[in-house]
């Protein structure tokens, strides 16, 4: 039994952060068999968070964010080729170049790609960009170097807001368009969304909320954009920051529970098939995975978080080389960071899994605070702004389902100690897709949302 799981053929599809960390962990845990990593992009695994920060600021070239390895993974790298299908009976991955890679166990870590501008003709205009890959970052950084007269950022989630911040730091004129009521509101709710709006305007961003971009204009080159409120701007660069699409299309015929929300798997990263039966040889990790989390009422979560890709890949790899009773669950508390407009924003838990929020330390006025989120009387998340060292404390409250609101801090003069509604809007009201998607159903809400076809 032991020998069986430590050798054989493991294939990892997706050669980014999750794929790399899984490969390293497999070798650390004693996997001696053959290991193949398949990646669509030609370059070896690289880090993405710097793309919207260091790279857009011009401090680091886009092709220099390669990830360091923790150890030699002794793998065959199949880079620059896309996986196009999975044969779960024959146990092989089909590649775009016509080759097939057989496996005994498979890890799906194909992640996400940027959601493109929906009108293909407008998306093809010179000057219209998305930002997800290092190649996209290189082209956008080059265009920012050339000194555009105005940059339009469509979507004010984390990526859009970081892009706007980098542009302002370069001294470029920026317009941000967001369908929702404020930047970051889809991830952090109304209280911190209002702070983000104030911050963007204080840094000179022409922020327009409650509007959509109805047309990108130009003849070959982008010249401007039309908004749903009838206004118009001139712009020679537009960055489409509408969230991400999960790379699951290649799994359409695989019989797995794979779709637009990701690949559904259990807490041990084992993928489900379309009937909800768990597989024992196909695993999923990173942005592509959708898994039940006990801290959040077993809601299925898809997380587009750096830390989740690392933690889930390590659990998946452990479970791929360990028999049943020795397997581990992926129970990590979700966490992410963002830096924008000179502030360090960090989050633990799931802020959108909340009905109330309270400023537990600091104040909105000073833009230095910890906001704590609660759901039905227990703590479910905390977000710090320039106050990161407090977060470990709140993470323990989340892990132990401590009562909400938390007891007041001893030293702090709290500006607003009373919890207010967390005002998390329906993601359908936002320009951008959510980076944390609660994709399950709430057992206590006995309803189904039926949407008419558009």
């Amino acid at each position: 039994m032991r020998g069986e799981v430590r050798d054989g053929r493991i294939v990892i599809v997706g050669a980014s952060l999750a794929g790399l960390r899984a490969a390293e962990t497999l070798r650390e845990k004693g996997f001696t068999g053959s290991l193949t990593l398949v990646g669509e992009e030609p370059q070896p695994p690289y880090d993405r968070p710097p793309l919207s920060k260091q790279v857009l600021l011009g401090r680091v070239p886009a092709d220099r964010t390669g990830l360091p390895r923790r150890r030699d993974v002794e793998a065959q790298w199949r880079l620059g080729v896309r996986a196009t299908g999975l044969d779960p009976i024959g146990k092989r991955v089909l590649l775009a170049d016509g080759e097939e890679v057989p496996f005994d166990r498979l890890l799906i870590a194909t992640g996400t790609r940027a959601r493109p501008w929906p009108n293909p003709a407008e998306a093809a205009l010179d000057g219209v960009f998305t930002l997800r890959t290092s190649d996209e970052a290189r082209r956008l950084a080059e265009r920012l170097d050339a000194g555009p007269r105005r940059v339009l950022v469509i979507g004010a989630g984390f990526t859009g807001s970081e892009i706007a911040s980098a542009c302002r730091e370069r001294g470029l004129a920026v317009t941000v368009a967001e369908r929702g009521p404020a930047p970051l509101v889809g991830a952090l709710g109304g209280t911190l969304g209002a702070l983000a709006a104030k911050l963007q305007r204080a840094h000179g961003v022409d922020l327009r909320c409650g509007v959509t971009v109805t047309a990108l204009e130009g003849d070959g080159r982008l010249t401007g954009a039309q908004f749903s409120d009838g206004t118009h701007i001139d712009a020679d660069v537009a960055v489409v920051a509408l969230g991400a699409i999960r790379n699951t299309e290649w799994l359409a015929e695989s019989g797995l529970a794979a779709g637009p929300r990701g690949v559904t798997c259990d807490a041990g990263c084992r993928a489900f098939d379309m009937y909800g039966i768990v597989t024992d040889d196909v695993f999923a990790a990173g942005d592509i995975a959708r898994f039940p989390h006990p801290l959040f009422e077993y809601q299925l979560l898809s997380l587009e978080h750096w830390g989740n890709a690392v933690a889930q890949a390590e659990v998946a790899a452990h479970n791929m080389v360990n028999p049943g009773p020795r397997r581990l669950p992926h129970l990590t508390v979700p966490a992410f960071w963002s830096s924008q407009f000179g502030l360090n924003i960090k989050s633990v838990g799931v802020p959108t899994f909340s009905d109330q929020v309270v400023i537990a330390q600091g104040s909105l006025k000073d833009a230095r605070l910890v906001a704590v989120y609660g759901y039905r009387g227990r703590v479910t998340a905390a977000v710090s702004v320039n106050q990161a060292r407090s977060l470990a404390y709140y993470q323990r409250l989340i892990e132990t389902a401590a009562p909400f609101p938390p007891a007041p801090g001893a030293a702090d003069q709290i500006e607003s100690p009373v919890p207010v509604p967390s005002d998390v809007p329906d993601p359908k009201l936002l320009s951008h897709g959510p980076t944390v998607a609660l994709t399950g159903h709430m057992p206590d809400r006995r309803l189904t949302v039926v949407q008419p076809a558009r």
Partner: protein, 69 residues
């Protein structure tokens, strides 16, 4: 040699920015920016920064999969 910083762990102690300022810089009061590729002359300084980080958030190593290019 490349570095990556786990910014979930990073708590802004700024020891790295003190020990290897060409690679690590603070951006605002708390946010850390870093250069992922360590310049040759900076290796020893970065090694010291890795060791000095109170939360051990910095990983240094050879670039992964570079031979596959």
């Amino acid at each position: 040699m490349n570095v990556v910083v786990d910014l979930n762990r990073c708590q802004g102690y700024a020891q790295c920015a003190f020990l290897a300022p060409e690679v690590f810089t603070m951006h605002g009061e708390e946010a850390l920016l870093y250069h992922p590729v360590v310049p040759d002359g900076q290796l020893e300084r970065v090694r010291r920064a890795v060791a000095a980080c109170p939360v051990q958030a910095i990983l240094m190593g050879e670039e992964a999969g570079a031979g596959a290019r």
